[in-house]
């Protein structure tokens, strides 16, 4: 008899109010006299650490629009402006939203209209990110600072790439933030955010450990929807509270043998490569679950500060310390994110999480991580 599999999602409802609060505060920031920074890539932390700057982490906007059922409407606005469909969807979402504001076009849910920024911070981890900074800059004349963050080809390259990024940040980014904020960059404030953030990420990683269990008490999708607090509530007590609650649920499920897939756990454990399809998480899981398959691990959701233990929040040069986390820290993010280290990383995830199959998700409108890690099969 065929098993009827059924998904048993973890309770991640706590993330909604937390994220809503972030967006509400962002919308209210201008009225409070704060400056706004739109940031793409990991350099957002410097704006985030500046008290009178409210930061919008741009990669989160797709999930935000998707969650409010507004993605199509915003994308249509982008096309109406002239954007081409092959362009990255993150680009089109921001340029679509900007076009709505610029042209005063009607919008079904005004919550998707964010305050226009005083500063654009583009981290070219993904080169596409720089393109939406440039487009917004061209259309609105907003100051744009774009920082090159190359993925390393080899571990030998890491020290010089780290120096290059540090030099760019200190020479270009920090002065721009100081100019826009009107105050000197406060390193102690950055430390005060990173301390609780580190604690939060450590708890989050304890949750991630549960993916090693067979059957797994949760899926990569549960993790995916829980990704927001490390960005949107960085350094805030509620983010720690959220992950503590998640950890408690996972411990309880483990203790009571409650798997993420009813009745007896997953049949197939999948590795998911590429970004998470924020607007279609439900659709995808409904396609997988009849086969007893669930996503368990992936590079993309793991890339957001995977090793908080590597950062010294008391470092004298805290500006550099954040960059060290990306490059020469023991678990270098930059190397694992690129194609060379990516292959090693995938192999490691497959072993560690007992993966049965791989699913490479790459769409033609979101360009990152789309190569297939194949060797010559001919």
């Amino acid at each position: 008899m065929n098993t009827q599999y059924k998904i048993n999602k973890l309770d991640t409802s706590g993330v909604g109010p937390l994220v809503d609060r972030h967006w509400r505060e962002l919308r209210e920031a201008k009225e409070k006299g704060m400056k706004i920074a739109w940031c793409a890539g990991p350099m957002f932390v410097y704006a985030y650490a500046t008290p009178n700057i409210a930061s919008h982490f741009m990669a989160g906007y797709a999930a935000y629009c998707g969650g409010r059922g507004m993605a199509d409407e915003v994308l249509e606005a982008a096309e109406r402006y002239g954007e081409l469909r092959d362009t990255c969807s993150y680009h089109r979402l921001h340029t679509g939203m900007a076009a709505m504001i610029m042209n005063d076009w009607p919008v079904s849910n005004p919550q998707v209209l964010l305050p226009m920024p005083d500063l654009l911070i583009g981290g070219r981890f993904c080169t596409e990110m720089s393109h939406y900074m440039e487009a917004i800059h061209r259309r609105f004349g907003i100051k744009a600072v774009t920082i090159e963050i190359p993925s390393a080809r080899s571990r030998e390259d890491l020290p010089r790439l780290e120096k290059f990024l540090t030099d760019q940040v200190k020479e270009t980014l920090i002065p721009a933030i100081e100019e826009v904020s009107g105050s000197k960059f406060d390193e102690e404030n950055m430390r005060s955010i990173l301390r609780p953030w580190k604690e939060t990420c450590i708890i989050r990683n304890k949750c991630w450990e549960f993916f090693k269990l067979k059957p797994s008490p949760w899926t990569l999708w549960d993790y995916g929807v829980s990704i927001a607090p490390v960005f949107y509530a960085m350094g805030k007590p509620e983010s720690l509270e959220y992950y503590n609650n998640l950890l408690k649920q996972l411990e309880e499920r483990t203790e009571k043998n409650i798997p993420a897939v009813h009745p007896d756990g997953e049949k197939y454990r999948l590795y998911w490569d590429g970004w998470l399809p924020w607007s279609f998480l439900g659709k995808f899981i409904r396609m997988m679950i009849p086969y007893g398959a669930i996503p368990i691990a992936g590079r993309y959701p793991w890339e957001f500060f995977p090793h908080p233990e590597d950062i010294n929040t008391e470092a004298d040069d805290i500006i550099h310390e954040w960059i060290r986390l990306i490059y020469t820290s023991p678990n270098t993010l930059s190397y694992h994110d690129g194609p060379w280290g990516g292959q090693e990383h995938i192999e490691d995830l497959i072993q560690t999480y007992s993966i049965d199959g791989m699913l490479f998700f790459s769409s033609n409108s979101k360009y990152r991580k789309k190569i297939r890690h194949t060797r010559d099969c001919h």
């Binding site: 092959d86 340029t95 070219r124 993904c126 487009a135 090159e148 290059f164 760019q168 033609n364 789309k370």
Partner: protein
């Protein structure tokens, strides 16, 4: 003239055979470089032949095992050629971080058909022209120089490098002269010939190319500059690849004449010289940071491609712009809407044509170009 053109055409007609033959005859090393910013002069100064990698002459097949169909033409094509072993005559390859797709090509090549020499340059964008980016670029060029010295067993002195820069500057200056002649005498050469002249410069030794160019320019002068009649158009875009020759023929057959361009296998390739100084690596680095012609892959926040095009079209008194957009090229895709708006605001007619690696629907392009031709002033 016909004889000279034949020689220009030889390399682009079959780069694989022509370059392999050159290698066999000279016993020198060939280094393939990925478009668009790698300084060929350093490779030339090492006594090797740098050749710019090209869009191949056949449909992508094996390459699709490694890259999705929605990668751009040059990425798909180089991967396909490499995994099929069609590039095995190359002793080395130099890649760069130019866009998201290009940074992944060397990884695939290494995993499948690694050349004897391979280098990957992290060349940064040029946004702020900051000291950090300039110092880093200089170090990248120095690293390439050192690696080539190790590979070739020959020291690349500043003198040698300056000699190479001079040779390449001369080539660029001759190509610019040819382009100036075309601006003054529209239709002086067919579009397909101009393209193949520039493309051959990317494939053959500059010493030979310079001689051919000098002969061509002298022949043209001797014969008198014969012009043709037609609507003057500017060709823009087409980053990294050469457009189909049939497309250029079609433009002319419809009564339009390309008077200038900013395409890669065109003006973009030879626009900027490097200075001759005591610090040739520094000179190459400074050239990397020149902001015009605007390069969307290299980043811009201070100059504007749309405005640059308006200036050029007005100066040439051209009737319109034909944009060639390499399909799935994010830098151009993301920039294009703003160019379109700028041109529309300036009242400059423009048409967008997408170019791909292999099949492009010439009939549908013809319809679009016919409409464009009517728009800029009927037949």
């Amino acid at each position: 003239m016909e004889e000279i053109m034949k020689q220009f055409v030889e390399y682009p007609s079959d780069p694989y055979t022509s370059i392999a033959k050159w290698k066999e005859n000279t016993k020198k090393k060939v280094i393939g470089i990925f478009p668009m910013w790698i300084p060929e002069e350093i490779i030339h100064a090492a006594g090797m032949l740098p050749v710019v990698m090209w869009r191949s002459n056949e449909a992508i097949t094996w390459g699709y095992a490694h890259v999705p169909p929605y990668n751009c033409a040059i990425n798909k094509s180089v991967v396909d050629d490499a995994v099929k072993g069609k590039l095995k005559f190359m002793d080395g390859m130099v890649f760069l971080r130019q866009c998201l797709q290009s940074q992944e090509v060397p990884f695939i090549v290494e995993n499948n058909r690694p050349p004897a020499f391979e280098e990957y340059l992290y060349l940064p964008p040029i946004y702020h022209g900051d000291k950090a980016s300039k110092d880093f670029t200089r170090d990248e060029f120095k690293r390439l120089r050192k690696r080539l010295e190790e590979f070739g067993g020959e020291k690349i002195t500043d003198e040698k490098l300056n000699e190479s820069i001079k040779l390449y500057n001369k080539n660029r200056s001759l190509l610019r002269k040819l382009y100036d002649l075309r601006k003054e005498n529209p239709g002086i050469l067919r579009g397909r010939d101009v393209l193949r002249i520039v493309w051959s410069s990317m494939l053959m030794p500059k010493e030979e190319h310079n001689k051919l160019l000098e002969s061509l320019l002298s022949e043209m002068e001797k014969n008198g500059y014969k012009t043709a009649k037609g609507k003057k158009v500017f060709l823009s875009g087409c980053l990294c690849i050469h457009p189909q020759l049939e497309l250029l023929d079609m433009i002319e057959d419809l009564g339009m004449l390309v008077v200038d361009d900013d395409i890669y296998v065109g003006y973009r390739y030879f626009a900027n010289d490097a200075e001759i100084t005591d610090d040739p690596i520094g000179a190459l680095m400074e050239r990397h940071f020149i902001k015009t012609p605007v390069d969307p892959a290299r980043g811009e926040v201070e100059v504007n491609w749309g405005k640059e095009l308006i200036g050029k079209v007005k100066k040439l008194n051209a009737d319109g712009i034909i944009t060639l957009l390499t399909k799935y090229c994010p830098p151009h895709l993301c920039y294009y809407p703003d160019i379109k708006v700028e041109l529309a605001n300036a009242g400059i007619p423009e048409v967008l044509i997408e170019v791909e690696h292999e099949v492009i629907s010439l009939e549908s392009i013809k319809t679009r170009l016919q409409s464009f031709r009517e728009m800029i002033g009927g037949r």
